[in-house]
């Protein structure tokens, strides 16, 4: 039977996972919007953010947390460090793996191969430097249920992750819809050549888009690492799921990526109750296959995407 037991507990964990998928999915969708390419190395941006956040937190914490305030401060610090390292990774990727190809007007396949190559390089580098065993983020706060939702305990971890993610999602939405930078990004997505006639430096917009995606993906990496652990290959599955979320919401569509992220998190989590938890990934990737087969433009359609 589906959903009977533990519906609320599954829903809560689905929302928590979903908020991370949403953060990471935005990186895929933003880059797709301006370049029409899937940045498959984005999973390593996620991983870079997790390691960056881990190291910074490790360097700062001496002993166990003394108060709620210092816990909040450490979580914020880790998230900001994650965002920073994610942004740096994304920036370097754009410069090294993509820009040279753009200069040469390389075919789309070259970009895909370059992305996969960069991804392999980065996670093998992380495995070599930091070892292949998962590393735990130090206990920077005391994990405990904060409140109960219809009997299901809601851990403070979940609340923290969802609140941080939502804050970043809203901030990004503001940037895209309300600011000059956001208009530049949308203009390049809709018609890059015309944007350049109006004074938009396309190269700058592209690298900024990578950086924005890196900020969100890196922060997502730290949050994920904090809840589970950090490892060299941690980006692979969440990266694919976030990509699925982006496709589900309509690749290139910023709000679609957020909707897709939450929806995917919830679907895979609740779906588990019908089978068993070992099916979680299978369910998530079945969603990808079904969307690609029946509605390749996703739920909300391609909106940042190609000009009409």
């Amino acid at each position: 039977m589906c959903f009977t037991q533990s519906f609320w507990a599954l829903l809560v964990s689905g929302i928590e996972n979903g908020s991370i998928y949403a953060l990471v999915a935005l990186g895929y969708t933003l880059v797709y919007g301006v370049l029409h390419l899937i940045n498959f190395a984005h999973s390593e941006v996620f991983m870079s953010g997790a390691f960056g956040g881990l190291f910074v937190v490790d360097a700062v914490v001496g002993g166990p947390p003394s108060s709620g305030l210092s816990s909040a401060g450490l979580i914020a610090l880790g998230t900001i460090a994650g965002a920073f390292f994610g942004a740096v990774a994304a920036f370097v990727l754009e410069r090294v793996a993509y820009r040279p190809l753009r200069r040469r007007n390389a075919p789309p396949l070259a970009f895909l191969i370059s992305a996969i190559g960069a991804s392999f390089f980065l996670y093998n580098l992380a495995g070599k430097e930091f070892g292949t065993n998962p590393i735990s983020v130090p206990q920077i706060y005391d994990e405990h249920p904060w409140f109960h939702l219809f009997g299901a305990p809601v851990l403070n971890t979940y609340v923290i992750i969802v609140v941080v993610a939502l804050t970043m999602l809203v901030a990004l939405d503001r940037v895209i819809t309300r600011t000059r930078l956001g208009r530049g990004i949308r203009a390049v997505a809709q018609d890059a050549e015309t944007a350049s006639l109006l004074g938009v430096d396309i190269d700058r917009v592209i690298v900024t888009t990578f950086v924005l995606g890196g900020l969100l993906g890196g922060a997502g990496g730290f949050l994920y690492g904090m809840a589970i652990n950090v490892s060299f290959n941690m980006g692979f599955i969440p990266g694919l799921k976030a990509f699925t979320a982006a496709v589900l919401g309509g690749i290139g569509n910023v709000r679609g990526a957020v909707v897709g992220g939450f929806l995917l998190g919830i679907v895979e989590s609740l779906g588990v109750s019908c089978v068993s938890s070992s099916w979680q990934n299978t369910i998530a990737f079945s969603v990808l296959v079904v969307v690609l087969m029946f509605r390749p433009t996703g739920i909300l359609g391609e909106r940042l995407g190609r000009a009409a």
Partner: protein, 236 residues
């Protein structure tokens, strides 16, 4: 001389689309560039704007070489380009499309927008509407308005009459005259030779990538070859 184009050659792959084009535009003029489909009119404007690079020849604007300047710098120098086919951002509001025209300044755009709305009152009514939902004529007005937001000294217009009803074309041409009277120099590419020559001070005729004729607009309008080839009048 505001714009000086000298012996410019442009090729797409191996095929030469401009084969040594030269012409000038003086401050305050309306100059029209006429020619049949494929003559190289769009190629000429795109080369001036830096979207294409000449393989030979020079382009100067206000005495400064611009043939290696990247496209996104042109608007800063004072060159506005209204591209062929209007190229409105379809999923941005009319207001945002206009704001894109002032992107390089990034400062307050109210006063410039007000000037555009004075020229094109219909855009004021449509402010919040997506650019892609406007009619062809409205899109052309928006494209011109967007370029004006950049406060150009020289405005490049690529077939603003394309696909529009005669009444709308007349209005657009009236507005081009008004823009010119307010101090903007205009380089107008057209297939609609009769109307373009009535508006312009001078004209150049392009054929397969070469300037084959150039004169005062009134003289071109009276020229038999022009009348026959571009004004749809049979030879006398």
């Amino acid at each position: 001389m505001l714009l000086h184009v000298e012996d410019v050659r442009v090729a797409y792959g191996g095929i030469e689309a401009l084969r040594g084009v030269s012409f000038d535009v003086d401050e305050g003029e309306i100059v029209t560039l006429l020619g049949a489909n494929g003559a190289g009119k769009t190629t000429t404007l795109r080369t001036i704007s830096g979207l294409l690079r000449p393989r030979a020849g020079t382009i100067s604007f206000d005495g400064q070489r611009i043939d290696t300047v990247p496209a996104h710098m042109m608007v800063r120098l004072g060159i506005g380009h209204v591209p062929e086919g209007r190229r409105i951002f379809p999923r941005m509001s009319v207001r945002e499309n206009l704001m894109m025209g002032a992107y390089h300044r990034g400062d307050d755009t109210e006063a410039d927008a007000d000037r555009v709305f004075e020229l094109f009152p219909v855009l004021l009514e449509r402010q919040g509407q997506d650019g892609g939902t406007l009619s062809g004529g409205e899109q052309q007005m928006l494209a011109i308005g967007r370029a004006l937001m950049g406060r150009p000294r020289l405005l490049l217009l690529d077939e603003p009459s394309m696909g529009l009803a005669p009444m709308i074309v007349t209005r657009i041409f009236d507005i081009i005259r008004e823009i010119n009277q307010q101090g903007t120099t205009v380089l107008l590419v057209e297939q609609n030779a009769a109307q373009a020559l009535r508006l312009a001070t001078r004209g150049y005729v392009l054929e397969t990538g070469e300037v084959v004729m150039s004169d005062d607009a009134s003289k071109l309008l009276a020229d038999d070859r022009i009348r026959e080839a571009y004004l749809g009048e049979g030879a006398a």
